[in-house]
């Protein structure tokens, strides 16, 4: 942005107010200013958000300090609040959701952009976009009435029978829990991954494919070794979009996660997520400290999103550098 404004202002030093007026009349400066305002408003809203969360959680921050992150008691009556089980639940369910959704979504996107006939591709894409518009409470309901009984009666018992030696698949099977929440999240974020990845893959120049094919690559080799790496940055982008949605999802998660603040190695166990507890307890929180602890949880969620996004950027930066080095070589 700094660079582009430099280019526009290049004749600046010589030009006086009259030149400025001329530029104003030609529209460029106006467009520049207006779009700058729009861009700045995003930054403004974000910083206002952080400021409000920070100020409104002062009481809880001072009382609990860093312990807030590492204790797992959440007792509104004794006014003891620890965020650990909620942070854990948020991270575990989001990770599980991505673990399921990324291979599925990427595979589907490759099929739709590279392999499927255009008519099928367009039709399926329409359904996927439709999936993205389904309200989350619907996913939650389907989760409660269909997924949870299936998990309790078939899914979890068979996982326990086959992979039960892992601590991940032990303990009583209620149906609701981390596993159910992870699966529901996976379904919810799938359309984001497919839709964005497909667009990115479609935008890979035709010449890239043709060159690979001309060198004797099979169609799959051209897709997997040339097209997908070329579109890597955009695909990462779609995954992070999905991650952001998963981290912040409230309604569908609270309906299937069991809402029990505990840190448990088993995916069958009920858990709790940050967004879910805030939504659940905010309206009836009467104690100041309780309310502020909930607001601090909001701040923590923001922090997690911020950190993960930062990490993601870093990842993209390093991989794309390595990528370009290979290209040069």
């Amino acid at each position: 942005m700094a660079a582009s404004s430099h280019v526009v202002r290049a004749p600046g030093p010589i030009a006086g107010p009259r030149a400025f007026l001329r530029r104003l009349r030609s529209g460029d400066e106006i467009a520049h200013l207006i779009t700058l305002c729009f861009a700045a408003s995003v930054v403004l809203v974000t910083s206002l958000l952080v400021y409000e969360l920070w100020v409104d959680s002062a009481l809880a921050r001072h009382k609990f300090g860093w312990h807030f992150f590492f204790t797992s008691v959440w007792d509104p009556i004794a006014e003891q609040f620890g965020a650990l089980p909620f942070i854990y639940g948020t991270l575990v369910t989001s990770a599980l959701g991505l673990l399921i959704a990324v291979p599925l979504g990427l595979g589907a996107a490759i099929f739709l952009s590279e392999l499927a006939p255009p008519r099928i591709s367009d039709g399926l894409t329409f359904f996927i976009d439709l999936l993205a518009a389904v309200p989350s409470v619907i996913y939650g309901l389907i989760g409660v009435f269909i997924l949870v009984p299936i998990l309790r009666n078939f899914g979890e018992p068979s996982l326990k029978a086959t992979l039960g030696f892992l601590p991940l698949f032990q303990g009583p099977m209620y149906g609701v829990g981390f596993l159910a929440a992870g699966i529901v999240l996976a379904v919810m974020v799938l359309p984001f991954i497919i839709s964005v990845s497909r667009e990115v893959l479609l935008s890979v120049p035709r010449e890239q494919r043709e060159a690979a094919l001309a060198l004797g690559a099979t169609r799959w080799e051209a897709t997997w070794k040339v097209v997908v790496p070329f579109a890597r940055t955009g695909i990462f982008g779609s995954i992070f979009l999905a991650l952001a949605r998963a981290l912040g999802e409230t309604m569908a998660v609270t309906m299937v996660i069991g809402n029990n603040p505990q840190v448990s190695a088993s995916l069958f166990a009920p858990g709790y997520s940050i967004a879910a507890v805030v939504a659940n307890e905010f309206t009836e929180a009467t104690g100041d400290l309780h309310l502020q602890a909930l607001i601090e949880l909001g701040l923590v969620l923001f922090l997690i999103t911020f950190l993960l996004n930062g990490l993601a950027r870093l990842l993209i930066l390093t991989t794309s550098r390595r990528g370009s080095a290979v290209e040069v070589a």
Partner: protein, 339 residues
């Protein structure tokens, strides 16, 4: 420029006069969700009878209702639990509680192969929710249900995950009947549950109970009645097992009415009285006792009086237990004191 200013001024005046002339008296309230159906009915019927008054109620939850009243952004609040002394102290104006209707909470369960109505003793309920009673055939449960073939399966405990007046009533009751519960958990809209799965709202808890074999949960009586859910009897202080119904709830309130304090902040769980259902509570409107705007004051007082008299006929069709006579009389006196 002057012309435009004049025009603007004229427009403003015209608009102002117009809206003034048609404006009904607007009263804003916010709070509890549990009584929302009967409150909306009341506000609607009152508006029909008195077109000059419009009462706008937002069901944002008891906690948020109390906070909005404290900061003075609404004319009245509503809550399923009485305000604490500390909360009353934080309010800008002195606040009076007015009981409006009664609610009750019932234990519901889903045990495959058991269709009989179960009896619950207070200790059995507390033990189940503390996690000390883990099997359905535990003597504490089986002892009160002779003749019922209870399985040896693990009990799956379900509770509300959202903060709610229902949880407040339930935990208030358990605190009264069980010392362990009082010291370990306590009472509140959200508590630190020793065991169990959380469901959002009555529908969330009933969903968990219906879908999970061997589960037990608690829901509002109204919700259980409207959805034809099976629910158990609970032993009251007089020793008889009571199935919750509207009369039993009103009986509980009548038993408590004798010792009703002047501020109406009273818990009526586990009352005396042979026919009283033990897990019930008032829900309250929170009204400032000093209202500076005389029109607003008269409007609110008028509404409260109407609610205590004509309004009561709308409660039972909506499955709310109505107030006992004694409480209504006492409240009429309190209404007169609003200045």
């Amino acid at each position: 420029m002057k012309k435009i200013n004049g025009l603007l001024l004229y427009l403003c005046l015209a608009l102002g006069v117009c809206t003034r002339a048609q404006d009904p008296m607007l009263v804003n309230g916010a709070g509890a969700t549990f009584p929302l159906p009967v409150y909306s009915k009341w506000f609607d019927e009152y508006h029909k009878a008195h077109p000059g008054v419009q009462i706008n109620y937002q069901s944002v939850g008891s906690g948020a209702g109390i906070r909005q009243l404290q900061s003075g952004t609404v004319d009245f609040g509503a809550s399923d639990m009485p305000m604490t002394d500390e909360q009353l102290g934080q309010a800008k104006v002195p606040v009076q509680h007015f009981p409006t209707v009664l609610g009750a909470v019932v234990p519901t369960y889903n045990i495959p192969g058991v269709s009989a109505e179960l009896n619950f003793t207070p200790d059995a309920l507390a033990g189940i929710y503390l996690g000390t009673i883990t099997k359905w055939n535990d003597p504490a449960i089986a002892g009160a249900n002779s003749g019922v073939n209870l399985p040896s399966s693990d009990i799956v405990v379900a509770h509300r995950s959202d903060g709610s007046g229902t949880t407040f009533i339930w935990t208030d009751y358990l605190s009264k009947v069980n010392a362990d519960w009082k010291s370990k958990v306590g009472r509140g809209a959200s508590v630190n549950w020793p065991v169990g799965l959380g469901g959002k709202g009555n529908e969330g808890v009933s969903g968990l109970v219906k879908e999970t074999p061997n589960a037990v949960g608690y829901v509002e009586l109204i919700y259980a009645i409207q959805n034809n859910m099976p629910y158990g009897r609970v032993r009251n202080a007089a020793g008889s097992f009571m199935k919750a119904d509207l009369n039993g709830v009103t009986a509980a309130a009548a038993a408590a009415a004798k010792n009703m304090p002047d501020d109406f902040r009273v818990s009526i769980t586990n009352p005396e009285g042979k026919t009283a259902y033990p897990i019930s509570s008032f829900t309250w409107l929170l009204i400032p006792t000093k209202i500076s705007d005389p029109v607003k004051r008269d409007t609110l007082k008028g509404f409260l009086k109407w609610m205590m008299t004509d309004g009561q006929k709308f409660t039972e069709p909506l499955s709310y237990a109505k107030l006992p006579k004694e409480v209504v009389e006492k409240e009429m006196k309190a209404i007169a004191k609003i200045q």
